[in-house]
Amino acid sequence: MDSSTPLITSPSLTPPLFVRFLRNVGRGAVDSLTQVGRFGMLLVELVRALPEWRQWLPRAMEQCQAIGYGSLFIVLLTSGFAGAVTSLQAGYQFTGSVPLYVMGAVVAESIVLELGPVLTGLILAGRVGARYAAELGTMRVTEQIDALEALGRNPISHLLLPRIAAGVFMVPALVMLANLTGLLTGWLAAKSSLGITDADFIYGTRYFFRTFDLWYSLIKAEVFGVVVTLIPCYVGFSADQGAEGVGRATTTAVVVASVSILILDTVLAKILLPT
C-alpha cells in the first residue's frame, strides 16, 4: 500500500441535506429580519433629520428639478400612448354594444384611477430608482458617505431626505400631468377612430367622474413617490463590495421598487375604493 494513503478515512464533513436546508432557511430569516431592522432604523433617522431643513430643503429643490423636469418627457410619452391605446381597445370592445359616450368614462377612469399613477410610478422606479441607488451606492463604496459623516455632517439630511422629499413633491405633479396627457390622447384617438363627438366624450367623462377619483390618484402618486425614492435610497445607502455591489444595489432597487408599486396598487385599491 502507498504510504501516503490514510489507514482510516474520515467521515464526510458535509451535513445532511435537511440540515443544510434548515440552515439556509434560518440564515435567510435572519438576513430578512436584519434588513427590516435596518430599514426601520433608517425611517427613524429620516424623521429625526426633518428639523435639519436648512440642509435638506435647498438640496431637495435641485433633486426636484432632476426628477420633475428630467422625467417629464418619458412620463408624458408613456401616458400619451397609454391614453390612446386604452381608447382604441375600448372602442374595439364596446362599439355597437354600449353608447359611445361611455368611451369618455372608460378612458378617464382607466387613466386617472390606474394607468396614470402606476405607469408613472413604474417608469420612475426605473429611471429615478436606478439613478439614486447607483449614485448612493457609488458614494458608499468610494467612502464619500464616510467622508460626510467624518466631517460631522448628517448623510441622511444631506443625501437621503432631499431625494425622498423630491419624490414626495414631484411624483404627484408628474402623475397629474400624465393623467391630463392620457385623457387628451384618449379623447383624440376616440375622436379620430370612432367618430365620437366632443360633447359625447365630455358627457361620458363627467357622468361617471367623482372628485374622489382624483384624490385616489393623488394618494397613489404620493405613496409611489415615497416608494420610488425611499427604497432605492435605502438599497444604495447600504451597498457594499465595489462595482459589483453597486450593480447589485441598482438592480435590487429597481426590482423591489417596481414590485412594491404593484403590491401597493392592489392594497390601496382594496383599502380606498368602496366595493
Binding site: 458614494m139 468610494t142 466631517l151 460631522g152
Partner: protein
C-alpha cells in the same frame, strides 16, 4: 490624546482587530504601519466613530467614542480632520464646494466671504493653485485629489488629523511631496496626527513615533531609531521588505 484600549473588531468570522492598545499623545504624529489588509484603516475609522468596536474602548480627548450621543459624536468629529485614501471627494461638487463642506461651523459655512478666503488659504497650504477651486474632482490627478482631501480635512481647523494611506498610488516624487506636506502641516497647525501607511521610508520621515500593526495587534511602538534597531523578527521582516524595494528602485 487618542487612546485605544483592548479594541476588538471582526467582520463576520474575519477578526481584524484582536485587542489593540494604541496611544497618541497630544501634538504627536504617529505613523501606523502594517501590510495591506491588516486593519489599519479600520482602526482609523474607530477614532471618529465610523466603526464601533465589538469590545474595548476608544478615547479621544478623554471621551469614550462608542458611548457618545449623536450630538457629542458630531461635535467630536468636527474636531477631527480625516484625509481619505482616495480623497473621497464629492463627485457632484467642485473643489470649492468640497473644501467648503470641511468648514464645520455652520455660521462660517454660510459666510461666503469667509469661505472664499478659507478655501484659498487651505489650497495654498496644500500647495495647490487657487484656480483648482473651480475644477470638478473628475478632472484632477490622484495626487491632486489627495491634496484636496487634505485641504477639506484642515478647512475646519481641526485639533486632530487622520491620514489614510496618503502616499499610496503616488509615484516616488509625489509621495515625497506628500510626506513634505504632512510635515509642513504638522509644523503649521500643531495638530495631533495619525498617519496610516505601509510606506516605511515616508513614515520614518513624518512621524514622531511609529506603531506596527500585525495580525490584529500592535506589535511594536517606538521611534524610527528603535524600529531600525529592533530585534523582533516580524518588525525586521517588515522593514527589510520595504528597504529591499527601496534599493531595487535605486
Amino acid at each position: 490624546m487618542i487612546e485605544l484600549r483592548d479594541v476588538h473588531k471582526a467582520f463576520g468570522r474575519q477578526v481584524v482587530l484582536d485587542g489593540v492598545d494604541f496611544v497618541v499623545e497630544t501634538g504627536q504624529t504617529v505613523a501606523l504601519l502594517g501590510p495591506s489588509g491588516t486593519g489599519k484603516s479600520v482602526l482609523l475609522k474607530h477614532i471618529v466613530g465610523l466603526l464601533m468596536p465589538d469590545s474595548g474602548d476608544v478615547l479621544v480627548d478623554g471621551m469614550s467614542v462608542p458611548r457618545l450621543r449623536r450630538k457629542e459624536l458630531t461635535a467630536l468629529r468636527r474636531k477631527v480632520g480625516y484625509a481619505f485614501q482616495m480623497g473621497a471627494l464629492f463627485d457632484s461638487m467642485n473643489v470649492y464646494e468640497n473644501i467648503r463642506l470641511g468648514i464645520v461651523d455652520e455660521a462660517l459655512y454660510r459666510d461666503k466671504a469667509f469661505c472664499d478666503a478659507r478655501v484659498a488659504e487651505v489650497l495654498k497650504q496644500v500647495n495647490l493653485s487657487p484656480d483648482v477651486a473651480r475644477q470638478m474632482p473628475g478632472s484632477l490627478s490622484g495626487g491632486m485629489k489627495k491634496r484636496v482631501g487634505i485641504a477639506r480635512a484642515i478647512a475646519g481647523k481641526p485639533s486632530y488629523l487622520l491620514y489614510d494611506e496618503p502616499t499610496s498610488g503616488l509615484d516616488p516624487v509625489n509621495a515625497d511631496a506628500m510626506d513634505a506636506l504632512i510635515e509642513q502641516l504638522q509644523h503649521e497647525l500643531h495638530v495631533t496626527s495619525v498617519v496610516v501607511s505601509h510606506d516605511v521610508r515616508g513614515s520614518f520621515k513624518v512621524a514622531d513615533r511609529i506603531a506596527l500593526l500585525h495580525h490584529g495587534k500592535i506589535r511594536k511602538v517606538g521611534t524610527a531609531e528603535e524600529f531600525v534597531n529592533a530585534k523582533d523578527e516580524v518588525v525586521r521582516e517588515f522593514l527589510e521588505r520595504d528597504f529591499q524595494l527601496l534599493e531595487a528602485e535605486h
